[in-house]
Every structure is written in structure tokens, then in C-alpha cells.
């Protein structure tokens, strides 16, 4: 018995997967267009343009106001303004920064890696903690462990992340002097060995990554718990026990895979919260990432950078969600090619 037609089947399945990918990619177009429309609308949020420029903010000089006028064609009709802006945005041309005159996209690009690094590490930390916590509480709902985690989850939902950052800074950084509280490198960074430099970077990352992860921790562990409890009630779990499979295998193989699948989507949905949060922890810990750039630009009313960051942030979220959807389609045999 050959498996020849099976190989063919696999090829067809993989190509439908490819088709699904292109379909999803195509679906992004209206969303991307929507992102640009809303971003454009933000420019016109204040009523009475373009006259509002003059009385808007004493921090903007007359010269800057004129530049703003020119940058967004604020003296032209609305549709024309949008189309001109859109034409440049699709080429990733957000203009030049008011502050240092450099191209916005270049400034964003050099800041992006560190923000992504911290967010990816934070996501890893969230999964690493929330997964076991959620599973253990799901195994005995209402048990001692579950009661305590429920308590901490409640606390976590109510705790301002930036305050936690301050407290950690105060305790671990200032009082105990265990961890650096600002930037990514120590002053003597250049004199350190290769490993010393990495260790230095790692030390600097501990607090920001922990704070970035904190926001998602409570919610994610709740999701894991809820999904796991739901799955453990399913018929196939009872059937697995009835077939003599031991508890460990039932929980960690049969139940876990089913419980984890929907979490891929949740993880995708948590991306905007994570990226948005980078504004807070990057400004607290003085980390030169996209969040801090956006914060500084807002303080300086550096509009081209703000608008560029807004669009790029939304597009990143969109791509993250697409990635999550594709992972889900790949991992779950039931949901495919729809």
C-alpha cells in the first residue's frame, strides 16, 4: 500500500493554506485604508481648522505652524488633503521630524527593534508564568491555589502598571540597589567584555520587561484557567480517562492542546495593549524605543513623528493579528481555509 495519494493530499492542503494566506492578506487592504482614515481624522480632531493652529498651543512657534500647514496641506480641501497624505503614507513617507529634521521613518526604524525586543520578551514572560498558573488553578477550581491566584488577578487588574514600575524602581533600584533603573547600558558599558555587556543589557531589561508583562499577566492567566476548565469538562476528556490514560497525559496532552489553541488569538489581541504600554515603561525607565520617541514627540508637538508612530503602531498590530490568525489556522485542524 503506497501513500502516494496522501502526499498529493498534503500538497493540496498546503496550497489551500497558501490560498488562505493570500485571502487574509487581501482582507488587510480595507483595514489598512481604515487605519489611514482614522489617523488622518486625528489631525482634524480639534474643531475650526486651520484657524485653531494659531491659538492652539503656545509651544508651537508660528514657523512650526506654517510647516504643519504645508505638511498636511491644511489649506486645501479635505479630500485633497487626505489623498495627498495617503499617497505619501503608502510610500512610508511621513515627512521630516520638526525637532531634528531627519526622516520620520528612519527615526522610527532605529527605535523599533528595542521596543519589539522588550515586547517579545514580555510576551514570553507572560506565557511562561500565566500558563502554569492558569493550568494549576484550573485543575482545582476553588482550591487554595486558585483562590490566591484569583485574588492576585483582581489586584493585577486594578494596579496601575506605571505605579508598579515606580515601586519596583524605589525598592529594587534605589533602596536595595540591585538593578539599574534607567536606560539600557551602564556608563562603563564599553569597557565590559562581550558577556559582561550582555549581562549588563539583561540587568537593564529585567524591570522594563517585568512591568511590560505585568499588564497582560492577570488577563492571560484567567483565559488559560477558563479555557482549561471548559476543556476538562468535555466528553473527550472523560472518554480519555475511560480509555485508561493517566491524568498527567490527559491534562498535558489531551486537554492542553485544546485549551491552548484559542489562546493564540488572545495573544494576538493583546499586541496593541503591549505596544501601547511601551510608551509608559519606556518613558519611566528611559529606554530609547518607539514608545519613548512618541512620548517625547508628543511633548514637543513633533507632529510628523506622532502621525508616523500612530500609523506604524496600528500596522504592527494588524500584522501581529494576521500572524496569530495564521498560527491558529495552522495549529487547529478544524478551522482552515475559511
Amino acid at each position: 500500500m503506497g501513500f502516494g495519494h496522501w502526499d498529493l493530499f498534503r500538497v493540496i492542503r498546503n496550497s489551500t493554506m497558501l490560498l488562505y494566506f493570500f485571502k487574509r492578506l487581501f482582507n488587510l487592504v480595507p483595514l489598512l485604508l481604515g487605519i489611514t482614515i482614522i489617523s488622518f481624522a486625528v489631525i482634524h480632531l480639534a474643531p475650526g481648522r486651520p484657524a485653531y493652529l494659531k491659538e492652539m498651543d503656545p509651544r508651537i512657534s508660528l514657523e512650526a505652524q506654517e510647516r504643519l500647514m504645508k505638511l498636511y496641506d491644511l489649506d486645501k480641501p479635505l479630500l485633497k488633503q487626505y489623498l495627498n497624505w495617503l499617497k505619501r503614507v503608502v510610500r512610508l513617507d511621513f515627512g521630516n521630524s520638526f525637532v531634528d529634521g531627519r526622516k520620520v521613518i528612519v527615526r522610527l526604524r532605529e527605535r523599533l527593534p528595542i521596543t519589539l525586543l522588550i515586547n517579545i520578551l514580555a510576551m514570553g514572560l507572560i506565557i511562561g508564568i500565566a500558563l502554569p498558573v492558569g493550568i494549576i488553578s484550573a485543575l482545582k477550581p476553588g482550591g487554595l491555589f486558585d483562590k490566591w491566584t484569583t485574588f492576585f488577578v483582581f489586584l493585577g487588574f486594578s494596579l496601575p502598571a506605571f505605579w508598579l514600575a515606580l515601586l519596583l524602581m524605589l525598592l529594587l533600584g534605589i533602596k536595595l540597589n540591585w538593578l539599574p533603573i534607567s536606560g539600557l547600558r551602564s556608563f562603563d558599558h564599553h569597557q565590559l567584555s562581550f558577556w559582561g555587556r550582555n549581562l549588563d543589557l539583561l540587568k537593564h531589561l529585567i524591570l522594563p520587561v517585568s512591568v511590560a508583562a505585568f499588564g497582560g499577566l492577570a488577563g492571560f492567566s484567567r483565559y488559560v484557567r477558563g479555557n482549561m476548565i471548559g476543556v476538562l469538562k468535555q466528553d473527550y476528556i472523560r472518554a480519555a480517562y475511560a480509555q485508561g490514560i493517566d491524568k498527567k497525559r490527559v491534562v498535558y496532552k489531551y486537554a492542553l492542546k485544546n485549551a491552548l489553541l484559542p489562546l493564540i488569538t488572545i495573544l494576538g489581541l493583546s499586541i496593541p495593549g503591549l505596544i501601547g504600554g511601551s510608551i509608559i515603561f519606556e518613558s519611566i525607565f528611559a529606554i530609547p524605543g518607539m514608545g519613548r520617541l512618541l512620548y517625547n514627540s508628543t511633548m514637543a508637538r513633533d507632529y510628523p513623528v506622532i502621525m508616523g508612530g500612530l500609523v506604524i503602531g496600528a500596522v504592527l498590530t494588524l500584522l501581529g493579528n494576521l500572524l496569530a490568525d495564521l498560527c491558529y489556522a495552522w495549529a487547529d485542524p478544524r478551522i482552515r481555509y475559511e
Binding site: M1, W6, D235, R238, I245, P333
Partner: protein, 317 residues
């Protein structure tokens, strides 16, 4: 030879501060190669009885009595020993085949896992064994369906897969809990025929649970009737000669019944609060004063025919 002997089985759950007596003193036995039917309305405790035979009810507050399977007291076994009995010696098939198979694993890999676990077989041997079993239960194109996921098959096909899995380790007892309830009539008939065929081939004992007496009539050697967490009548010729008023009412509701049909009034009592005396007395057309006070005991009224009823004799007349 008796293969499974259940004595005074009790399974209680707690819901808040209340105690639910899901199974309350159930006794019966199954012989080698026999098919025993267990019937009763939904909520009478059939499924809980079936599951507790291998201690599959982990959330039970109290589990008492005795379940003796091949000289082993199952309720006293440790979970590692139970795992060697479940699936290998006592196998189950359930009501919803589609949801009883794990949706994220291929049918073949689920089968191979069970076979490798219970029998000392290599992966290759397990696979050929699984393919053979799938063929035996009438799965078409086994090579292809071995690689399928449960959602790609119909309900009837999934139930065939469940049967193949259940029988792949040659168990001596198969417990089928409403295995055809959610299938359409044609498929139902096919599955029943398959069960009959395999039972004879393997000299298997079968505990068949359903609320559908029509099915049982064709299938079983002996029948047990459950009402309100207890067995009220048990024996060989229940269909021809029912003694308990409840059994009579159930049978009279079946199509093809000749004679005066009785329609039961009232509802199944709540498991929080069973009536005192005979649990059936509020609905019994023949009740006497004693029925409200004293719980009737199981008595052998005819050879091999047990009934728990104060008024059974009167009914017979």
C-alpha cells in the same frame, strides 16, 4: 460465570450544602458473554452508575458499596491499577461520538496511543492493529480515515471509530452508554448490528444503557430498570412479565404494546429530596399505606426475577 458484581453501590454529590444521591444502593451482576440492559428515564442515575464502575466519577463526594470485577474490588484499587483496567478490561463507548474523540488529534494517532499503552506493541504493530480494527468495524478507506480528524467524519463513522478503539485491546466488558441516541435511525440500526456481531465474535459482556426500551428488547439477555437512583426491577423476562408498576408503565408506553396503556402522572422526584418509603409511590396507581412509610426491599418473586415493590403481587393478579 459472573464477571462483574455490583453490590449496594452508592454515589453522592454535593451541590452547595445539599447532597445529591445520584446512585443510592444499586446492586446487579453481569455474566460472561451476557448483554445486560440498564434502562430508566434521564436523571435516574444510569450514567453515573456506568461511570462509577471504574471510578470515573472523580468529583463524587461519597462513593460506597462494592464493585467486583474478576475477583478484584475496583473501588479499592489505586488509580495506577485502575488505568490498567480502564480501556483494557472494561471499555466504554459514549453518547456523543463526535465530542468523545479529541478534536485536535488524528483518529489514527488516538487509536495507536491507546493500543501502545495497553499492549506491549511497537508503533508499527499498533498501527497495523488499529487499521485492522477500523476495517472490522466497517470504516471505508481505512488508510485515508486513519489520517482524518474526527470532524471530518459523520456521527455514525465516529461511533464506529469509538467502538474500534474500545475493542482494540480485547476488553471482557464493554459499557455502552446511550451509544445510538444521537444517531439517525438507519445509522442506529447499523451500529446495533455491529455491536451484536462483535459481541458474539469476542464473547464479550455488554452493559447497554439507554432510555429506549425498544432497542433493549432486541438486544439484551437481562434487564435492569432504574428509578430515582435505585434499581426497582431486575431479571430475565421483564418484557414478557413485568412486575413493578413503573416497568409496566414504561413498557406500556412502547409502540406495539398490547393491552391497557398506563400514562404516568407527575414527575421524576428531585435527587435532593426523594420521597419517603417507596420512591415511586407519589406516581403509583396501586399505592397502599405501607408504600409511603417503608422502603420496599429487592425480592426474588420468580426465578431470576427480582423486584422491589410492596404491591407487586397485587399487580400480578
Amino acid at each position: 460465570m459472573i464477571i462483574l458484581d455490583v453490590k449496594n453501590l452508592k454515589v453522592y454529590f454535593s451541590r452547595g450544602k445539599k447532597l445529591i444521591k445520584a446512585v443510592d444502593g444499586v446492586s446487579f451482576s453481569i455474566k460472561q458473554g451476557e448483554t445486560l440492559g440498564l434502562a430508566g428515564e434521564s436523571g435516574s442515575g444510569k450514567t453515573v452508575t456506568a461511570l462509577s464502575l471504574t471510578k470515573l466519577i472523580s468529583e463524587a463526594k461519597f462513593l460506597g458499596g462494592e464493585v467486583v470485577f474478576k475477583q478484584k474490588d475496583i473501588l479499592a484499587l489505586a488509580s495506577s491499577q485502575l488505568q490498567k483496567i480502564r480501556g483494557k478490561e472494561i471499555a466504554y463507548i459514549f453518547q456523543n461520538p463526535a465530542s468523545s474523540l479529541n478534536p485536535v488529534f488524528r483518529i489514527g494517532s488516538q487509536m495507536v496511543e491507546i493500543i501502545m499503552m495497553h499492549q506491549n506493541k511497537s508503533k508499527k504493530e499498533a498501527k497495523s492493529c488499529a487499521l485492522k480494527m477500523l476495517q472490522r468495524v466497517g470504516i471505508p478507506d481505512v488508510q485515508k480515515n486513519f489520517e482524518s480528524y474526527p470532524h471530518q467524519l459523520s456521527g455514525g463513522m465516529n461511533q464506529r471509530v469509538m467502538i474500534a478503539m474500545a475493542l482494540s485491546c480485547q476488553p471482557s466488558l464493554l459499557i455502552a452508554d446511550e451509544p445510538t441516541t444521537n444517531l439517525d435511525l438507519t445509522t442506529q440500526a447499523q451500529i446495533l448490528e455491529l455491536l451484536q456481531k462483535i459481541k458474539h465474535e469476542q464473547n464479550l459482556s455488554l452493559l447497554f444503557i439507554t432510555h429506549n426500551l425498544e432497542i433493549l428488547k432486541r438486544l439484551v439477555d437481562r434487564l435492569a430498570i432504574m428509578y430515582a437512583a435505585q434499581i426497582v426491577e431486575f431479571g430475565e423476562n421483564l418484557f414478557e412479565h413485568p412486575l413493578h408498576p413503573y416497568t409496566q408503565a414504561l413498557l406500556s408506553a412502547q409502540p406495539g404494546f398490547e393491552g391497557r396503556s398506563q400514562i404516568l402522572k407527575g414527575e421524576v422526584p428531585s435527587p435532593f429530596d426523594f420521597p419517603a418509603g417507596c420512591r415511586f409511590h407519589p406516581r403509583c396507581p396501586f399505592k397502599k399505606a405501607i408504600c409511603e412509610q417503608e422502603e420496599p426491599l429487592m425480592q426474588e418473586r420468580e426465578k431470576g426475577h427480582f423486584v422491589a415493590c410492596h404491591v407487586a403481587e397485587n399487580v400480578v393478579k
